[in-house]
Symmetry: C2
Subunit: 329 residues, 2 copies
DNA sequence: CTGTTAGCGCCTTCAG
DNA sequence: CTGAAGGCGCTAACAG
C-alpha cells in the first residue's frame, strides 16, 4: 500500500507539498498538483482514513444507531437522515445495537469513531449515552429523554397521536377498548399508553386492565396477544395496537379465528408502516413524520457541532390516517 | 478526553504498563491491572479507536454497501450479514452508495476504513471495486462479476429463477408474455431476462419485443410501464416483472383501469419481498435466499481474511412461490 | 510555493 | 514492572 511518502518521493516533491496538493490547498502550483496527482495515480495511492482522522480529530461522519437495522419502520427515517447528512458533506453509517454492550453501536459511541450519533435503539443504555455525549460529540435520541446538555431529544408526539386514535375509536361508538402494549421499558409505548388512558378518562370510559396485553412491538407478539384476548372470550369493541407490526399480527390471529375486522371488531395501529396500506383490511393508524424526524435530528447534530445553542427537546406532530379497520359500531 | 497517558499517570504506572493492562496482556500482575482499570474508570477513559486502528492497521469491522439503505429488499440480507459478522466478533456498518463517487461507500472503499466489504449497489463503479480489493481487503459482490481475485461473487441464480417463473406461466397456458424490465445496466436484470427468453425459446414461443418495457426496478417505474402496456391495447396473457416492486406498481395500474389480476391477466414478480404476500392478489414470485446470501457473503470475507483459498463465485438457488396472481388460462 | 518538523493517541520493543 | 523511544500515515504550522 503506497503512502503519501511514496507519492511525494515519486513526484519529486516534499511530503507536505504532496499533502497540500492532494487536499487541494491553494498554496501549491497547478503544475505541481498535476505532478503529484499523476504520481498518486501511478502508485494507486489511497490515503489512510484513520491517520487522517486521527490527525484532525474529526471524522466527518455521523452514525445512525438502530436496534434493528432490518426493521420496517426505519426506511423513511434513514432517508431523512441520509439526505441532510449528505447535503452537509458528511458521511453516514448505520450500525446496529444488537449485542447490547458488546455491539458495534456501543463501540462507536465509546471510542468516538464518529462525530455525532442519532440513536433509536432501546437496548442502548441511557447511561452510556449520558457518558458519551459532549460538546464535540453531540447525540440526538429519538426514543427517550436523557440528562445531558449535548444529548437532545427529538420525538413524535406519541401521546397526542394515541389520544386522537383512541378518540377516533370512541367517536365511532366503541366503548370497551383494548390496548396491546409494547415492551414495558419503551418510552414510546409508555407515552402511547398515556395518550390512550387520557382519552378514556376524558370521555369517562373505564379502563379494564384485563384488556391490556403485552405484545413487545413484534408481529409475533401482536399475534400472540390477540390470541390471548380471543381466548379470554368477551372481546372488546375495539383494540389499539401500540404499533402497526403488532396490528398486522393481530389481523392474522383474527383471520385464523374467523373474526372479521372491522365488522366484528375495530382496530387501530401506530406508525403507518408501509404494509399498513396493503394489509387486509387496510389499517387505520397514526402516521409518524419519520422522514422529518430523521432530517431534524441530523440538523440538530450539525447545529450542535457548529457550537450553536439548540432546544433541548423537539416534538413532532402525528396524524391519524383513516383506512378501513375501524367501523361505526 | 482522557488519554492512556492520563490513566497511566493516575494509576501511578508507566504508560506501557497501562497499555498492557488495558489490553489484557499476561505480563502484568493482577493487582496492577486492577489499579489501572480503576484509574481508567475514574477518568472515564475511552480509547481512541482510530489511533488504535492506525497502529494495528486493522479495524475489525466490515462494511455492507447498499445503493439504498431504505429499500425493502435488504432487511433479510442485513440479518444474515449481521449475525455472521457478530459471531466472529467483528463489527458491521452499513453505508449507502447514493452520491456515486462522492458517497460514503466510495470513501470507505478507497480509504480502507474497514477490513472488508459486501457490495450490493449498482451505482458503485466496477473499476473502483477492482482497484480496491486486495489480499487484506476482500470484497464480496452480490450483483455482478468482477475481475479481481480478491473480489468474489455470490449471486442467486437469477436465470434459473426467471426460467422457472416463465415456465410456470407457460404451463398455465399463457402464450403471449410481456417482460417489464429493470435498468439496462443491471446484471440481475440481464440474467432474469435471459432466463425469461430461454424459457420462451425452450417452449417455442416467439418473443415480441413490443412487450418488453423498461421499468427501472421501482414501483413507480412498474406503474408507468404497465400503463404504457395497457395504452398499447392488446395486452399479453401474462407479464413477468423483473422485480416485485415493479409488480406492485403494475397491480396499481391494473386496478386503476379496472383490469382484474389474475382473471384478465396473470403476473409474476421476482424477489419475494415482504409486501408480495399482502398485496391484492398475493403475488406469485420467485424467492431469493437473501438471508443465506448475506450470511455466505460475510463467511467468505472471513475466509479470505484468514488467507484461505475460496471459490471465485457462488450461485444460490431460487424458489418459485405460488400465490394468487397467476391463473390457468 | 516548498521543505522541515512536530505531533494526533496508541502500541510495541528493549534495555534496565 | 518501568521509561524511553520509534512509528503507524497524515496534517499543519513555520520557516525558508
Amino acid at each position: 500500500m503506497a503512502t503519501i511518502k511514496d507519492v511525494a518521493k515519486r513526484a519529486g516533491v516534499a511530503l507536505s507539498t504532496a499533502s497540500y496538493a492532494l487536499n487541494g490547498s491553494s498554496k501549491v502550483s497547478g503544475a505541481t498538483i498535476e505532478k503529484v496527482m499523476r504520481a498518486a495515480r501511478e502508485l494507486n495511492y489511497q490515503k489512510n482514513g484513520f491517520a487522517s482522522d486521527l490527525k484532525r480529530t474529526k471524522t466527518n461522519t455521523i452514525a445512525l444507531i438502530l436496534s434493528d437495522m432490518s426493521g420496517p419502520y426505519f426506511s423513511e427515517l434513514i432517508k431523512g437522515v441520509q439526505e441532510v447528512t449528505a447535503s452537509n458533506q458528511y458521511d453516514l453509517i448505520a450500525c446496529s445495537s444488537v449485542g447490547g454492550s458488546r455491539s458495534t453501536a456501543t463501540k462507536f459511541l465509546r471510542e468516538k469513531r464518529v462525530d455525532g450519533a442519532i440513536i433509536l435503539a432501546n437496548n442502548i443504555q441511557t447511561q452510556l449515552i449520558e457518558e458519551s455525549a459532549r460538546e464535540d460529540f453531540p447525540i440526538v435520541v429519538l426514543d427517550r429523554e436523557v440528562q445531558n446538555p449535548y444529548a437532545i431529544h427529538v420525538e413524535v408526539n406519541n401521546r397526542q397521536g394515541a389520544f386522537e386514535a383512541t378518540e377516533h375509536l370512541i367517536e365511532k361508538g366503541h366503548r370497551s377498548l383494548g390496548y396491546v402494549s409494547g415492551p414495558m421499558d419503551s418510552h414510546d409505548n409508555e407515552e402511547r399508553f398515556t395518550g390512550f388512558s387520557d382519552a378514556l378518562e376524558h370521555y369517562d370510559i373505564p379502563f379494564q386492565s384485563r384488556l391490556k396485553i403485552s405484545g413487545d412491538f413484534t408481529r409475533e407478539g401482536g399475534y400472540r396477544a390477540t390470541k390471548m384476548l380471543i381466548a379470554q372470550q368477551n372481546l372488546p369493541d375495539a383494540i389499539f395496537y401500540a404499533n402497526d407490526e403488532m396490528a398486522v399480527g393481530g389481523l392474522q390471529a383474527f383471520k385464523e379465528k374467523g373474526i372479521q375486522v372491522p365488522a366484528d371488531i375495530s382496530i387501530v395501529g401506530f406508525d403507518d408502516i408501509q404494509l399498513a396500506e396493503y394489509v387486509n383490511p387496510p389499517l387505520t393508524t397514526v402516521r409518524q413524520p419519520k422522514y422529518e424526524a430523521g432530517a431534524l435530528a441530523v440538523h440538530m447534530i450539525f447545529q450542535m457541532l457548529a457550537g450553536e445553542k439548540v432546544e433541548k427537546s423537539f416534538n413532532l406532530s402525528t396524524e391519524l390516517v383513516e383506512r378501513s379497520s375501524v367501523k361505526m359500531k
